[in-house]
Amino acid sequence: MNTAAREGAVRHLYVHLPFCASRCGYCAFVVEVGGRDRRDAYLGALLAESGTQSAVLGSLDTVYFGGGTPTLMRPHRIAALLDAVRPSLAAGAEVSIEANPETVDREHLEALVAAGVTRVSIGAQTFQPELLATLDRAATPDQVRAAVSCAREAGFASVSIDLLFGVPGQTTEGLADDIAQAIALRVDHISWYELELKPGAALTRRGAVLPDDDWAADAYETIVASLEGAGYRWYETANFARPGHECRHSLAYWGAADYLGIGVGAVSTIDGERRRNAPGVDRYIAAEGTPERALEHLDTDTQRRERWMLALRLDEPLDLAWSGPPDHPDALERLVDLGLIERVGAQISLSRHGRFVQNAVLSQLMEYA
């Protein structure tokens, strides 16, 4: 393998900050509740890992601080991390951070902007107090609105909010109100996910019941239509942006680009190899920058299938020359006939209906086995 030639090619960095004040009802991520006394030690380990990995980094186009609750790390710690990679940061790099509304104020957000963070993604989830309680979210709808306006005033280039639909107990009226409030905030970017009940999440253990498929389909269609009507571009399955505010870091994932992930449980994909850092904050700290990693080799077929899986999430066409052929070319013809796929030369895109049933289309085209 010619790794030497590839060195210095990775342009996207993900930094995992696992600390949370409490665990949300739908969460099954690698998070660490509390851990106030270990944040400096964790920061040290992150700096050590970024040091050991610095050779793979090229000119960084995007950095993303995800969590956990990244805003539980004080801004000076974020600044220290950014300082460590600053020599690699390209001009105009996108630097994103996830924020919980109740953890930030004007001063905090200004300090992040000063440190070089350009984009903030605020976890709103819903504006309905009873649903926030179901989700075990700490923030009130007022705090969400306050965080958005503080972020604007602090000078972020892009402000995004995260929302959920399909929350147990969610009503059609409640959803309509969420849509109206989200639009009224006039943010640059909205991520709107359907709630999944993951094994291990508290909601799952409590036996929560999701709304039925038809309700969820109605909700999804309504969200897409409403946000498009408000001037957002439905540029990815669950993401909407005002023109120019698409998340470049995420686009890198969906474009199957290489990325480096550092921190506990973080995943990297570099040169056909995917590796996942072991879970466990204490072990991560003890490893001093060389955590244990689970490796997964991605052969060329797997890479090709992933390109299809990722790129069909986008509203822009996939180029067959880039993606490679589908496993079942005959299915492609059939899907075109059914109006699920549109094809112009080597450019393949999902029709509007096709985007809603992306998995079904993929399973016709590809042999994920």
Binding site: Y14, Y193, S250, E306, M309, F356, Y368
Partner: protein, 608 residues
């Protein structure tokens, strides 16, 4: 103790409904008699068992020989002959009965007589067997020996006093059973010196020994080395060994008139030694074969297709192997536009079909799709040619048919009084023609003539569900009758799916078609586009349902840490599709085929 005079031999079998205690009683008989001849038999059993263990032979004893010293001081050779328990195998049952002079009729003292028992009792009486009535499980609190004892006695024309009362479970009354066998079952009366004749009442294939025939010697004597002749098939057969089951195989070197035992041949398929055939010795041949031989014909047919087309050769091999041991299984290659390459298979009945399918799936690890079972129709075309049609696809267009005839069965149902309405309603719905109704103990025996095609469509399940499990069923073929039959087609997205076609009575085409498309609509999952499901006869649409389109099928979040997990989710989804068949743009799961397979409710206007 091998050679015994005929007057000290008793050949008998046990007639009982499932769960009425046949095998428990058989075990008790072996136990009781085994203790008597413990020492002298042990050596023989061990000898033969070593060889058997070495060669892994595990042949189920179809006839067990035991010795019993009766109160009269004589030691009798008792041959207990096994009988298959299900309605599909009534011919085999009749041949097992023909090997006996007597039968123990075992009836559960709390449940009474069931329809299949009744059928077998009639067979035994017809065959002049001495029937010894036995009420089992009299230790149960629910036992009603007075009521059921009277009924059993009445059935066989005996005295209620003579009905034995036992509990095979506790061992109570077993000795009395054996004493009755000795006292009441007639000894064999064959001509011990005449030309040898033996009735084959079962045959099995063993991979180490070849075909093993279980026989009852009627006349003369067979010795190892004799060259055999099967009189019906005309096949000459080399015998390798001859012996008896005790219940392990014990080689005796000879079998004399009146005795029951096994003959090992070098043959490769049980079809060569058919149940009911007569064995004789080639250079001392009998002039006449024993009566009652019949060629067994399959009555129920269905197409079996491998889900994975690559399994076709493996499936052929599996069928070849099964046929070695199952002469009544027939099969021939079949091609279906919808299901690809497979086989049209013929079975004795529904149970036989289930057994074969299960063995193919379990023992040979095949995933199968089965088409709606059907019967064999006789068609006279307008050009006056005669056709036999086993597959709906082979039915000529309606304008080329002059007449169609279908097999009818006489169907006997035993049911408590309060179930009579339900049973008669079901029989009427299934085109039954009422024959008789009469009381049998505290129940009614209802007899209908009915198209076999109606029985193969989950009639039995319906019967059970409508009578809360209290009805019991037996049926026998009574011949072919003319019927106005049409081919009902099912169209998915406008295209007929041959595997879903069926032949139905024209008056039932609408209700059946309607029920069928409704059921398909429920079992076919949402598709990527809306799919119409239609039922049609000769191009005329009778009923229609629509499978809705999927509206949302996406993976929510998919970022750097999620990619592998999401890919695996898609792989899992693909796994679920393996049992789906693709028809154009429509994916049909196996359950959809099964839902049609169990279509009985169809048009009965009364869904479960």
């Amino acid at each position: 103790m091998i050679g015994v005079k005929q007057n000290l031999i008793r050949n008998f079998c046990i007639i009982a409904h499932i769960d009425h205690g046949k095998s428990t009683l058989a075990d008790r008989i072996l136990q009781l008699t085994g203790a008597v001849s413990d020492r002298e038999m042990r050596a023989q059993i061990l000898d033969s068992m070593d060889i058997e263990r070495e060669r892994g032979i595990t042949i189920k004893a179809q006839a067990v020989r035991v010795f019993y010293t009766a109160k009269d001081g004589e030691t009798y050779q008792l041959n207990l002959i096994d009988t298959p328990g299900h309605v599909d195998f009534s011919y085999e049952v009749s041949r097992s009965l023909a090997a006996c002079e007597g039968a123990l009729l075992v009836v559960d003292a709390s449940q009474g007589i069931e329809a299949q028992t009744l059928a077998n009792v009639y067979l035994a009486i017809e065959g002049d067997l001495e029937v010894i009535p036995v009420l089992n499980k009299i230790d149960l609190p629910a036992a009603d020996p007075e009521l059921h004892g009277r009924a059993v006695a009445e059935l066989i024309g005996g005295d209620p006093e003579d009905v034995l009362r036992i509990s095979a479970k506790t061992g109570m009354g077993i000795q009395e059973v054996l004493e009755s066998v000795v006292a009441r079952v007639p000894a064999p009366t064959g001509n011990a010196d005449g030309p040898p004749r033996a009735l084959i009442f079962d045959s099995v294939y063993d991979q180490y020994q070849g075909v093993v025939a279980f026989v009852r010697v009627m006349d003369g004597e067979f010795r190892e080395g004799d060259k055999l002749l099967a009189m019906q098939t005309g096949l000459t057969v080399e015998m390798s060994t001859i012996g008896v089951m005790t219940p392990t195989m014990v080689r005796t070197g000879r079998l004399a008139a009146g005795e029951t035992g096994y003959i090992v041949t070098g043959l490769k398929a049980v079809g060569d030694l058919r149940v009911g055939d007569t064995l004789t010795i080639a250079n001392n041949r009998a002039s006449e074969a024993l009566p009652g031989y019949r060629e067994v014909k399959p009555m129920v047919f269905c197409g079996l297709f491998p889900v994975d087309a690559d399994d076709y050769p493996a499936m052929r091999e599996a069928l070849e192997k099964l046929t070695l041991n199952d002469a009544s299984l027939q099969w021939e290659p079949e091609t279906s536009q919808a299901l690809g390459f497979g086989f049209r298979c013929g079975f004795l009945g529904l149970l036989h079909m289930d057994i074969v399918r299960e063995r193919l799936e379990r023992e040979y690890d095949l995933d199968l799709l089965a088409t709606t079972p059907n019967v064999e129709y006789e068609v006279t075309t307008t050009a006056k040619t005669e056709l036999k049609v086993r597959s709906p696809a082979d039915l000529p267009a309606a304008n080329h048919i002059e007449t169609v005839r279908e097999p009818y069965v006489r169907c006997t149902v035993l049911v408590p009084q309060d179930g009579v309405g339900a049973v008669m309603g079901l029989c009427q719905d299934r085109r039954g023609v009422f024959v008789t109704m009469e009381p049998i103990e505290n129940r009614l025996q209802i007899v209908y003539d009915m198209p076999l095609a109606e029985i193969v469509m989950d009639f039995y399940d319906q019967l059970k569900s409508r009578t809360k499990g209290y009805a019991s069923l037996d049926y026998e073929l009574v011949g072919y009758r003319e019927s106005p039959l049409v081919k009902l087609d099912i169209l998915l997205a406008g295209d007929a799916v041959d595997a879903l076609s069926m032949i139905v009575h024209k008056d039932l085409a609408y209700p059946r078609g309607k029920a069928l498309v409704e059921r398909l609509q429920k079992t076919i999952p949402r598709q990527m586009i809306e799919v119409p499901i239609q039922a049609a006869v000769g191009g005329k649409i009778l009923a229609r349902e629509t499978v809705k389109a999927i509206r949302k099928d996406v993976l929510a979040k998919c970022y750097g840490g999620d990619i592998s997990r999401k890919r695996k989710l898609l792989e899992k989804q693909k796994e679920g599709k393996k049992r789906m068949k693709q028809f154009g743009s429509v994916e049909v799961p196996q359950e959809a085929f099964l839902s049609v397979l169990t279509l009985g409710t169809t048009g009965d206007g009364n869904k479960r």
